[in-house]
C-alpha cells in the first residue's frame, strides 16, 4: 500500500512540475504568441542552479568526483529562488530572437537550435556542468531534518510542489486576466497594430520570456530537489515538443487547458505506457509513444486546433455570462444599414478626455523634406507639409502618390530615409511608433487590423491609454488595484460602442464581424486611444457610402471638439464635406493644397488624376 502512496507522491510531484512548465509555456505561446521552442533550456538552467546552490563547495563534498561551480550550500528556499532568478536571467540573451520582427517560424527555429546547442555544450563541457554525467547526490531540501525517502516527506514535497503550482496558476491568471493580459493577447493577434496603439511589444515579449523562464526555472528546481540529480540527458529538445503537444491538446490560451494537457500528455502518456508490457522489441512501446505524441499534435491541430479546453471568450459587457446567442453578423451588403446609434448625442470631449482649446489652429505636426525609398525607388520625395491643430486634413493623390507611406512615417511605423517629422515643434523622427502612440499620435491601418480573438469590447478597451492594470506590475497588484479603473474603461468603451450602435456585438470576437463593422471597431479603438492626432489610413475603404458619410460626419464633430485628424482617402467624393484642407500628393511630392473645390479647379490636380 505504501508503495502505491510513494508512486502517487511521485506522480504528484511530476504532475506539478509538468503543469508548472505547461502553464509557463502557455503564457508565452498561448497568450503572448511567443513560440519558445527552447523552453526546456530554462527548466534545465533553473534546475542546475538549484542543484549547485544547495550543494556544498566543490572538492569537500562528494569527494570531488564531479565538477561544478557555485557550491554555496544554501538553505531552502534560497536555491529555488536562485533557480527562478536564473531562469529569468537566461531569457535575456534570447530577447534578440523574439524582439525583432522575425518571421515567427524563423524565431522558433532559432530557439530550437539554441536548445540543441546548449545541450551539446553542456554535454561536453565538463568543468561547469560535469558533462553528460551531470550532478548527482544533490541534497534534498530539509534532508538534514527529515528523511527524504520517507512517505511523509514525499507527500509534503508533493504538497509544496502542488501549492507552488497553484500559486503559479493564480499568479499567471492574475497577469493574463488583467488589462495587461489583454494587451498580451492583442500583441499575439497582431503585433504591429498593438505597437501602433502604444503597447511596447518588445518589452511585453521580454517580460513574458522572463516570467516564463522564471517559472520554468522553478519547476526545474522542484524536479531536481526531488530526484536529487541533474543530468543534461533529461532535458533534450524533444521535451519541449512534448510540452507543446500538451498545450495544443489541452488548449492554448487557457490555463486549465495547460494543466489538463500537462496531466494528459507528459504525465499521463508516460505513466500509462509504463504499464504496457514490453512487446516484441523493447523499443516498440516508447517509440509508439513518440509516434502517438506526433499524431496528437497533427490530429489536434487538424480536428480541434483550440484544444480540449479552448481559450475562453471574455465577456466584459454587463450581459454577464448568460447564453446570449451571438448575433449573426451582417453581410457586406447590409453595412449600408448600420446605424451609428445615438452618436450625435455623445460628448466626445468628455468621452475622449479631449483637452485644449478647440479653436486653436496652430501647427501641431509637420514634416521637413521627408523622403522614403524602397530598394532604390523613391516613393516619397522631400515632402514638407504642415498639419493644423483641430483640423481634418485630407491626404489625397492618385495611386502610388506616396500617401500611405507618408502616413506610416508620421506614425513611426516606417522610418524615413531622410527628412524630419516634427510634433509640436519637437523632432520625433527617431521616436518609436509605440511612444508616438503614447504621446497621442494614433494611426489606423488600411488592411483589417482587429485583434481577431479579442471580443469587440476587448478590442476597444485594449486601446485606452494609461490603464492602471496595463503593466506587469499593475497586473500583479490585482483587481483591487485596477478593477475600478477597468470598470470605468469598459464603461467608456461600452458607451462608445453604443454610440456606434454596435452594442449587440460587444462580446463577439472581432474576427467574425463584417468588413464595415470591423472598420468601425478600428475607428472606435483608435478614438479610445485618446489621440491628439488621429492618422486614418483609408478608413472608408470597402465601407458602404452611406456608412462612410455617417463616419465622416462624426469625424467633423471630433475635429470640432479639438482633435486633429489626418486622413488618407481615395474616395474623394466625401472629402468636400469633411476635409479642410486637403493636400494632394503625386509621385511622391506635394502637388497642391486647398479645399476640395479649390483643388478641383486646379488644372494640375485634375491632370494628376486624369493624367494623359
Amino acid at each position: 500500500m505504501s508503495a502505491i502512496l510513494f508512486y502517487v507522491a511521485t506522480i504528484i510531484v511530476y504532475g506539478a512540475v509538468d503543469s508548472m512548465a505547461c502553464l509557463a509555456l502557455n503564457v508565452q505561446f498561448g497568450f503572448a504568441g511567443l513560440s519558445n521552442f527552447g523552453f526546456i533550456i530554462f527548466q534545465a538552467g533553473g534546475a542546475y542552479v538549484a542543484a549547485v546552490l544547495s550543494m556544498g563547495p566543490w572538492q569537500k563534498s562528494n569527494e570531488g568526483f564531479q565538477s561544478y561551480v557555485l557550491g554555496w550550500h544554501l538553505a531552502w528556499p534560497l536555491p529555488w529562488i536562485g533557480a527562478a532568478l536564473f531562469g529569468g536571467l537566461l531569457a535575456l540573451p534570447f530577447v534578440f530572437l523574439v524582439g525583432k520582427r522575425l518571421r515567427g517560424d524563423f524565431a522558433a527555429v532559432g530557439l530550437l537550435v539554441s536548445a540543441v546547442l546548449l545541450n551539446q555544450l553542456v554535454n561536453n563541457f565538463v568543468p561547469l556542468f560535469n558533462g553528460a554525467a551531470g550532478i548527482s547526490i544533490v541534497p534534498a531540501p530539509f534532508s538534514h531534518y527529515w528523511n527524504p525517502q520517507g512517505l511523509a516527506y514525499q507527500f509534503v514535497y508533493g504538497g509544496v510542489a502542488v501549492v507552488l503550482t497553484v500559486l503559479v496558476y493564480f499568479l499567471l491568471r492574475r497577469v493574463t486576466e488583467s488589462p495587461y493580459g489583454r494587451s498580451l493577447r492583442a500583441m499575439r493577434d497582431n503585433d504591429i497594430v498593438a505597437d501602433a496603439l502604444g503597447k511596447n511589444v518588445r518589452v511585453q515579449r521580454t517580460s513574458m520570456l522572463i516570467l516564463g523562464g522564471m517559472i520554468a526555472g522553478l519547476s526545474g528546481a522542484i524536479l531536481v530537489g526531488f530526484i536529487n540529480l541533474w543530468a543534461p540527458g533529461a532535458w533534450g529538445y524533444a521535451e519541449t515538443i512534448v510540452l507543446f503537444a500538451a498545450i495544443i491538446v489541452g488548449g492554448a490560451g487557457n490555463h486549465k487547458g495547460a494543466v489538463l494537457g500537462a496531466l494528459l500528455v507528459p504525465l499521463g502518456f508516460e505513466e500509462v505506457t509504463r504499464f504496457i508490457p514490453p512487446l516484441s522489441n523493447p523499443a516498440l512501446v516508447p517509440a509508439l509513444e513518440w509516434v502517438a505524441i506526433g499524431l496528437l499534435i497533427i490530429g489536434f491541430l487538424w480536428f480541434r486546433p483550440d484544444g480540449i479546453l479552448p481559450e475562453r471568450r471574455r465577456i466584459l459587457s454587463g450581459a454577464g455570462k448568460s447564453s446570449l446567442p451571438m448575433p449573426v453578423p451582417s453581410s457586406g451588403e447590409s453595412d449600408s444599414l448600420i446605424n451609428l446609434g445615438n452618436l450625435d448625442q455623445m460628448d466626445f470631449r468628455q468621452l475622449l478626455r479631449l483637452e485644449g482649446d478647440a479653436s486653436d489652429h496652430g501647427i501641431i505636426l509637420s514634416t521637413d523634406r521627408l523622403t522614403r525609398a524602397f530598394h532604390g525607388v523613391t516613393v516619397v520625395s522631400e515632402v514638407s507639409i504642415e498639419f493644423q491643430r483641430g483640423r481634418l486634413t485630407g491626404l489625397i493623390g492618385p495611386n502610388g502618390a506616396g500617401k500611405s507611406t507618408t502616413l506610416a512615417m508620421l506614425a513611426g511605423t516606417l522610418a524615413p530615409t531622410s527628412g524630419k517629422v516634427l510634433y509640436e515643434g519637437r523632432d520625433i523622427t527617431s521616436m518609436p511608433s509605440n511612444e508616438r502612440a503614447k504621446s497621442g499620435m494614433i494611426r489606423t491601418f488600411q488592411l483589417a487590423s482587429e485583434f481577431k480573438k479579442l471580443t469587440v469590447l476587448e478590442n476597444l478597451v485594449s486601446a485606452i491609454p494609461r490603464q492602471s492594470g496595463d503593466s506587469f506590475v499593475g497586473a500583479l497588484r490585482g483587481r483591487r488595484f485596477w478593477g475600478r479603473d477597468d470598470a470605468e474603461n469598459i464603461e467608456r468603451a461600452s458607451e462608445m460602442l453604443e454610440g456606434f450602435g454596435l452594442t449587440q456585438y460587444a462580446d463577439s470576437y472581432a474576427g467574425g464581424l463584417s468588413g464595415g463593422q470591423r472598420r468601425l471597431v478600428e475607428i472606435m479603438r483608435a478614438l479610445l486611444a485618446q489621440p491628439t492626432i488621429l492618422l486614418l489610413d483609408e478608413p472608408m475603404a470597402g465601407v458602404h457610402p452611406n456608412l462612410a458619410h455617417k463616419i465622416g460626419d462624426q469625424l467633423t464633430r471630433l475635429v470640432a471638439s479639438g482633435m486633429t485628424i489626418v486622413m488618407v482617402e481615395h474616395e474623394l467624393a466625401i472629402m468636400d464635406a469633411f476635409c479642410d484642407p486637403v493636400i494632394v500628393l503625386a509621385e511622391g511630392r506635394v502637388l497642391a493644397q486647398g479645399t476640395m473645390s479649390e483643388l478641383r479647379a486646379m488644372k494640375e490636380v485634375v491632370e494628376a488624376y486624369l493624367v494623359g
Partner: protein, 453 residues
C-alpha cells in the same frame, strides 16, 4: 461561414458537453491502458506457494538499450535454475523488466511504479550508471537489495546499505585495460571514450595508470555520442600513431569510430583495448558487420574483463541456461556473446547469492537476508563450496554452511559492498564468444593490478 462556426462554438450547452465527452474518452483510454493485464515470467511445472519477483531496472531503450537485455537474460537464466530446484522458500521466481530509458529523471517514476505494482519484489538488478544515482536511494528506502552494474565513483565513496556491486569501479576497469596494454608492450596509447555518464569516468584513472606504467597518452578523444561520424577524432588518433587505443563507446558511436579508424589507417585495425562493457553481442555484431569484418576485428581487439571461471563447476549450467534463453529475451543478437558479458555473468551469480541468502535467512525480506549474502559470498569457516543454487539449497537444508563459488568465482566485498575478482584479457572468437588469453591480469585496485587481492 467563419462566423457561424464561431457561433456554434459559443453555444454553451452543446459545447461543454462535447468537451466533457472528450475529457471522458481520454480518461477512459488512460484507464483502459492502466488495467491492461501485465504479463510476467513463465510458469513452471512444479507447484509453488506464491511467487517472488526480481526486477531488471535498466535501459531497454535509448542509447544504452543493449544493457537491459543482458541483465534480463541473467534473471531468466537464474530463475529457471532456481525454479527447477523448487524455487526460493517454495516460491516461484519471476522476472520483470523496468525500462528507465537511460534517463535518470524518467527512472524515478518508473521505479516508483514498479513498487506500486509489484507486491513481492525481493531483488533489483541492473541499475546502470545511467540511472543509479536517482534509483539507488529509492531502493535503499524500500530496503530492497540491489545488485547494480555501475562503475560510478560516487558509489566508491558513499555508503548505501542495500546496494551491492559485483562489478569493479570504473577506475579498476581502467587499470586493467592499461595492464593489458603493458603486457603487449605498447608504449603510445590513444584514449577514445564516449561523453556519456558511464564512459567518462574511465579517463582520469586510465591516464594516471598509463603514467604509472611508463607509457604515454598520444591522443585523448572524447566522443559526442549524438554525433554521426567521428572522422576528425579517428584522424587525430591515426595521426598520433598509437600502439593501441583504449576505448569505451557503446552504441553506434563505437562502431562508427572503429570503422573510420580502420579506413583512415589504410584498412588496418589499430590494436584496441575495450572495457568490460564492450564485451557485448550488439557491439560485436555491429562492428563485424561493418567494413572491418570479423577476422580483422578479432585479431586486434582485446577487452579487460573480470575472470569468468569457464573451467569452474558453475560454468556448464550457466552456459546451458544462457543459451536456453534464446527467443525469450528480445534485443540480443547472440546469446553465446553474453556468456562472458559481465552483466550476465555477475548478475546470474548475484541472483543465486541472493536466493541462497533468502533460503538461509528463511525470509525474502531484504533487511533479513542482506547480511547472509556476504556470508555466502565470502564463505565462513567450515563452509562447503557450492556452485549452483540447487547444490546450495541442498546443503542449506542439510544444515551446512555454504560458500558460493559462481561463474565469476568467489566474491569478496569491501566496505561499500563492492566485490570484484581478478581481471583477465578477453578476446572475441569469430562466433562472438570470448576467450581469455594469457592468464590472469591479477586483482586490479584503483591504481594497480596485483596477483593477490
Amino acid at each position: 461561414m467563419r462566423f457561424s462556426k464561431m457561433a456554434r462554438r459559443g453555444g454553451l450547452v452543446d459545447h461543454s458537453r462535447k468537451r466533457l465527452v472528450l475529457v471522458a474518452s481520454v480518461l477512459a483510454l488512460v484507464a483502459s491502458m492502466v488495467t491492461l493485464p501485465v504479463a510476467e515470467g513463465t510458469s513452471g511445472a512444479t507447484s509453488f506457494k506464491g511467487s517472488i519477483t526480481i526486477a531488471s531496472v535498466a535501459p531497454f531503450t535509448g542509447a544504452d538499450a543493449a544493457l537491459g537485455p543482458k541483465y534480463e537474460t541473467a534473471c531468466y537464466a537464474a530463475a529457471q535454475a532456481i525454479n527447477a530446484a523448487g524455487g526460493v522458500l517454495s516460491k516461484q521466481v519471476k522476472c520483470k523488466t523496468v525500462d528507465t530509458r537511460g534517463d535518470p529523471a524518467d527512472a524515478v517514476p518508473a521505479v516508483r511504479q514498479m513498487y506500486a505494482t509489484t507486491s513481492n519484489l525481493v531483488l533489483v538488478i541492473g541499475c546502470t550508471s545511467d540511472e543509479a544515482a536517482t534509483v539507488v536511494p529509492i531502493f535503499g528506502a524500500h530496503k530492497t537489495v540491489s545488485f547494480c552494474m555501475t562503475g560510478q565513483s560516487e558509489f566508491d565513496a558513499v555508503h548505501y546499505p542495500y546496494f551491492f556491486r559485483l562489478v569493479p569501479p570504473d577506475a579498476a576497469d581502467s587499470v586493467a585495460m592499461v595492464q593489458i596494454a603493458k603486457r603487449h608492450s605498447y608504449k603510445k596509447i590513444a584514449l577514445a571514450f564516449g561523453n556519456d555518464a558511464g564512459s567518462q569516468t574511465f579517463v582520469a584513472p586510465a591516464e594516471a595508470a598509463i603514467k604509472t606504467a611508463g607509457m604515454t597518452v598520444v591522443s585523448n578523444e572524447t566522443l559526442d555520442m549524438t554525433a554521426s561520424t567521428f572522422q576528425t577524432e579517428a584522424q587525430a588518433i591515426v595521426q598520433a600513431h598509437p600502439d593501441a587505443i583504449l576505448m569505451e563507446a557503446l552504441g553506434a558511436a563505437g562502431v562508427a569510430l572503429l570503422s573510420e579508424i580502420y579506413q583512415l589507417n589504410g584498412n588496418k585495425m589499430i590494436p584496441t583495448i575495450g572495457t568490460s562493457a564492450m564485451i557485448d553481442p550488439v557491439f560485436f555484431s555491429g562492428v563485424t558487420s561493418g567494413p572491418i569484418g570479423v577476422q580483422n576485428f578479432i585479431a586486434a581487439f582485446d577487452a579487460d574483463n573480470q575472470t569468468v571461471n569457464a573451467s569452474g563447476p558453475a560454468y556448464p549450467l550457466y552456459h546451458k541456461l544462457v543459451l536456453e534463453q534464446a527467443g525469450k529475451v528480445k534485443g540480443v543478437p547472440s546469446f553465446a556473446g553474453l556468456l562472458s558479458a559481465n552483466g550476465t555473468v555477475h548478475l546470474y551469480d548475484g541472483i543465486n547469492l541472493a536466493a541462497l541468502a533468502m533460503d538461509m535467512a528463511h525470509s525474502t525480506t531484504g533487511s533479513k537476508y542482506k547480511a547472509d549474502i556476504l556470508k555466502i559470498a565470502e564463505g565462513v569457516h567450515g563452509a562447503v563450496n557450492v556452485s549452483s543454487y540447487a547444490a546450495g539449497l541442498k546443503d542449506l537444508k542439510a544444515g551446512k554452511k555454504i560458500h558460493y563459488i559462481g561463474v565469476g568465482g568467489s566474491y569478496q566485498f569491501d566496505s561499500y559492498q563492492t566485490a570484484f575478482g581478478p581481471f583477465e584479457d578477453d578476446q572475441f572468437l569469430a562466433n562472438g564468444t570470448t576467450v581469455a588469453v594469457g592468464g590472469t591480469l591479477g586483482y586490479c585496485s584503483l591504481t594497480e593490478c596485483k596477483s593477490t587481492p
